[in-house]
Amino acid sequence: MTVRREVFLPGDAERVWEVLTSAERLAEWFACEVELEARPGGEGIFRWGDGSVRHAIVEAVEPVQRFAFLWFEAGEEAAATRVELELEETEEGTRVAVTESAPDGLRASAAGEWSWGLTLLAALPRLHAPARVT
């Protein structure tokens, strides 16, 4: 299962890349304290003010285009999700797509995800109604 978001940001890809991959810049918007080695196999620790902590293991670093890492809570590497950031520079700025995928790396097509989302939405009213078996 996959969650995907896209955002359009001001600035060229180089500038956006820095905010996405440098520990110092990540601490401005992503978490309170960030340690991160942005190289394949590099490790990261993200801490928030409420005491929560997340770990990252970097999988792919393709400067100003693609950054991917595993994302998990301490001791729960087996339940890691995979986060992928893709950058695309345009004339007006940079488009960033974020994809977070569930543990077993199943990545249905965009159409599949969409229809699945619709299925789940359609199922919701039924799920909240008490089931009767006759």
Partner: protein, 108 residues
Amino acid sequence: MTHGPGEQVFHALADSTRRTLIGYLSQHETATATELAVDLPVTRQAVAKHLNSLEEAGLVDRRRVGRETRYRLTPRPLTEAMAWMASVGGQWDERLERLRLVLEREGS
């Protein structure tokens, strides 16, 4: 923080035929394998196989009613999957909004 639902649920939902079965069961409170095979473009044999996967993932359960075995959706794993999508998506919405503000404040 968020935990993803079990891998079995993801695996079960990754298949379009199984999603079709779930869609059908969400519209009908219960169904037999035969009813599913008649109403959907899926063979009786495939219906049985996919119902087993869904049952193993805890997405459906079965009850014997007279001579029939009737299947119905069980809400919890699906609700968890929905919650996972909503929670993870919501986190990214917030993060990306903060990121946009940081970059806009800096100007270009």
